[in-house]
Amino acid sequence: MSTVSIIKYYFNLFLAYSTYFFQYAINIFADYPAEIKVAVIVTVLCIILILIMFFALLALSHSEKKKKKLVQRFEKKFGPGMDYMLSDEAEKRMSKSEIAVVFGIDPENVGKEILKNKREKEAFIDVFYLRFITEKSDYANRDNITSLLYLFDVPNFLEKEVSLRSMRKKVRYMGMIRTFKLPISPWVINKLLSSKYLRVQRLAMYSNIMLSSDSDLDYFETDFFDKHCCIKDEIELAYSLQRRRNNGRKLPNLARWANLQKNESSQCMFVRLMRRFQELEYCEQLTELYKTQPRKKKLIEEISRTWGYLHYTEGERLLIDALLTQPDDTKVAIMHALTRFATGKALDALLEGFQNTTNPHVRFEALRCMYNYGRKGRALFRKLEKEAKESDKKFFDFFNNPITLDKIGLDKEQAYHPSVETVYNG
């Protein structure tokens, strides 16, 4: 008898017994009022569910045990080979048969199916995946890794699972394809891109970006993100673009994408990515965005930071003009950008930034910028320190304490978010 028919047999038996028990219980209470009948039905149902869960627990535990044993066996059998493939020794390009020897496989068997069934393939992938998600994998020879995975028929297996299986498996294996940087057929990509499920769509998109060398990435030629942009999108996109750059390819025009998006958070994302990948040549294209959308406070902040970070000094005039008209947080971003330019033209603007506000945070940041603004800025700072009113003296204490002074320099500030080390809390 096959396993399916055994399961069917026991399932029918279980169904027959439960129906019998159910009818028996109800018959006993046939003369009782309705609420008692309801109580009996609920009780019997609960008992059946408890029994089902109990047996499911046993079955789960059994299958887990089996899987654990298999994983342990593969750890022993293939673990050393995997470690070798991720080590410096495997830096050279290796052929499939060389890789096979590393894993103790007869080179004659290359091209044949080494892992027998789905369970073995799953266990192999799990063992390798956990090894792969380490810093080591960044330095490993990627061609060797791809060959290794092909040797064990992993890419075909993953692609099949992704195109056929449940959403959970789709996401899991799509994630692995993306992490292993494995090529995937265009029809699977297209199928996933049209999925209703956002996460699958995104994974497909980022895999495509990561793998295709000539793709024009036309997703972003429209208002792609609409309202659905999250930090994870930015992380994924950054990884994909980094990979492109590592492969020696030019990055697409991020400023153009920023201009094409309508949603502020998507626009900010592309501007931040410009900063991260130091795309100075496209900074000019942000000018229009800066001029036409002055009310988008976060966007103005990000553009100012990007210009400052990339030393796009052509934007200095615009920033100086906008300084006093912007809200406090944006003012701080603009002042930091002006300080990074350090052209000597913005000293008056910084002084105005200090004097024309009552917000202590902005005042402190203005002083901090002056302090870091070359010799002239430092001289102005000292002058203000001498003439400081009693209420302002607290600001200057931060510049005299070695611990806080250490964090005053703008070079300590990270490109993406303020440093976690607090300088001023006002």
Binding site: F29, Y32, P33, E35, I36, V38, A39, V40, V42, T43, C46, I47, L49, I50, M53, F54, A56, L57, L60, S61, Y129, I133, R168, V171, R172, G175, T179, L198, R199, K227, H228, C229, C230, I231, K232, E234, I235, E236, A238, Y239, R272, P360, H361, F364, K394, D397, F398, N400, N401, I403, T404, Q414, Y416, H417, P418, V420, E421, T422, N425, G426
Partner: protein, 476 residues
């Protein structure tokens, strides 16, 4: 006339019970759905780490831990917090004017010196006396705030919020043992959310019975004594069914004060913690929701279905009663202070569904149970009990409560919410208490809830006494 009243009461209670059971089933269904959804979105810990560790976009977090007279454990606890695996965080220890050597130990161990500060009191707290930082680079994550005595954890937390410089903060107790991956698990939900995440609740369990090494739980185990064992099961039910279920419809009613993540800006704009409240965590969350709804902003609240934090719970009935009486008072206070949210669809599913649920099934249930118990005694003495029906009804409730507990065990097993050291023993213990809980634990909780309500109504002053810690087992 009495007969009619008697029948109305009986059918009302029966209807109430059926509705309660139905609502539990609904939560079971919702939590299962949420778990399915989360398991699609949350990969394994290693993948989360792979993405977040190397990215400069990973949001920074401030961990706020108020401390009062913690000289025995403070250094271990701060070291435990320092060992958290996350790329970008600061630790703010708020010393609530301890009268023992807490401050002295901190200063000597971490080479702390005073730094200038000019803290804007964004939320209400007692004045800050000084802010200290370490002169050593390896402790640069640590900020110690020394403040005047506020007497409440909420006051200390507020002082921490005032000092906090990051977009997100985690509020915890200084004696909580935090899982190394906790922040990654919580922040993964934040970075994956397409709507602004204003709060993330983490699953918290009892550390009684666990073995701890270097401030980390190395062997997670179910406690060996009955009272903590009952609580372990209750915590599992609360986090994995109730909170997870509600979070799936964005209606999480509570983020535990023991370990919860909040958006700093929203928390500040909502006024932070209320030091006068008995349930400051629920109170703040409801004010945050009110603020977001009143200003027309979209938001998200989420629950992490994996254990993130371990805390030592009451080890005996006396301490348990004290804690539960305080919780019951807190519930009463929440219901009276936030009554405008109840049955109010303007506040979304929290106002329209969850708070009414809490009122009807959590607040009223203990009162109804006590009434039912007294009624039963009266019926026994007057010979009015139909024993066959009584046993069947009691059997239904008993089996249903066992079903709920077995479900949570099953859920825990399949979702791998807790990595128990010895799974067989742990699950056997939990199954055992499942059968005992309705007889021993539940009556105590009902008694405490009614006592708490009575104390609130009669305006009795409550003195908050911290739980006597026995300490966790350390690995030799």
């Amino acid at each position: 006339m009495w007969i009619i009243i008697y029948y109305i009461f009986c059918y009302l209670v029966f209807g109430y019970t059926m509705l309660l059971m139905f609502s539990y089933l609904y939560l079971v269904f919702m939590s299962h759905r949420a778990q399915g959804h989360i398991s699609i979105n949350i990969p394994d810990d290693e993948t989360i780490k792979y993405f977040l560790k190397g990215s400069p976009l990973t949001p920074a977090v401030s961990i706020i831990a108020p401390a009062f007279n913690e000289e025995v454990t403070i250094l271990d606890n701060v070291n435990s917090l320092m060992n958290i695996d996350y790329p970008n965080f600061e630790i703010i220890i708020v010393n609530d004017a301890s009268t023992d050597r807490t401050m002295e130990l901190l200063i000597n161990e971490y080479k702390l010196v005073e730094v200038p500060y000019d803290i804007a009191m964004k939320v209400q707290s007692k004045p800050i006396k000084r802010v200290l930082k370490s002169t050593e680079e390896k402790y640069s994550k640590l900020v110690v705030v020394d403040k005047e005595h506020g007497g409440k954890k909420a006051d200390g937390s507020n002082a921490g919020i005032n000092v906090c410089s990051n977009k997100y903060f985690v509020c915890t107790d200084v004696d909580c043992i935090i899982e190394p991956m906790a922040l990654y698990r919580m922040m993964w939900l934040v970075v994956n959310s397409h709507r602004p995440m204003i709060g993330v609740s983490a699953t918290m369990l009892m550390s009684n019975g666990c073995i701890v090494e270097d401030g980390r739980v190395v062997e997670a185990a179910v406690p060996n004594t009955l009272v903590p064992m009952f609580q372990q099961l209750e915590y599992l039910r609360s986090f994995l069914i109730s909170k997870l279920g509600w979070s799936s419809i964005n209606a999480l009613p509570n983020i535990s004060g023991g370990f919860g993540l909040f958006d700093t800006d929203v928390a500040v704009k909502s006024g932070g913690y209320d030091p006068t409240s008995m349930a400051e965590d629920v109170d703040m969350l409801l004010r945050m929701v009110t603020y977001m709804k009143n200003t027309g902003q979209d938001f998200r609240l989420a629950q992490v279905p994996k254990v993130c934090c371990w805390t030592e719970g009451p080890g005996n009935v006396k301490t348990l009663c004290r804690q539960r009486i305080r919780w019951a008072r807190g519930l009463f206070e929440i219901i009276s202070n936030h009554r405008k949210l109840f049955f109010n669809p303007h506040y979304g599913p929290i106002g329209a569904l969850v708070l009414p649920y809490i009122f009807v099934f959590e607040f009223i249930a203990p009162i109804l149970e006590l009434t039912g118990f007294l009624f039963m005694i009266w019926l026994i003495f007057t010979g009015g009990v139909n024993w066959d029906s009584a046993i069947i009804l009691f059997g239904m409730i008993y089996i249903f409560s066992v079903f709920m507990s077995i479900f949570v065990i099953f859920f825990d097993y399949s979702a791998k919410a807790v990595e128990w050291h010895n799974r067989k023993i742990s699950y056997l213990k939990l199954m055992l208490v499942t059968f005992l809980e309705p007889f021993f634990y539940h009556p105590i909780i009902t008694y405490c809830s009614n006592m708490g309500y009575w104390q609130f109504i009669s305006n009795q002053t409550s003195v908050w006494k911290p739980i006597q810690r026995r300490g966790v087992k350390k690995k030799k």
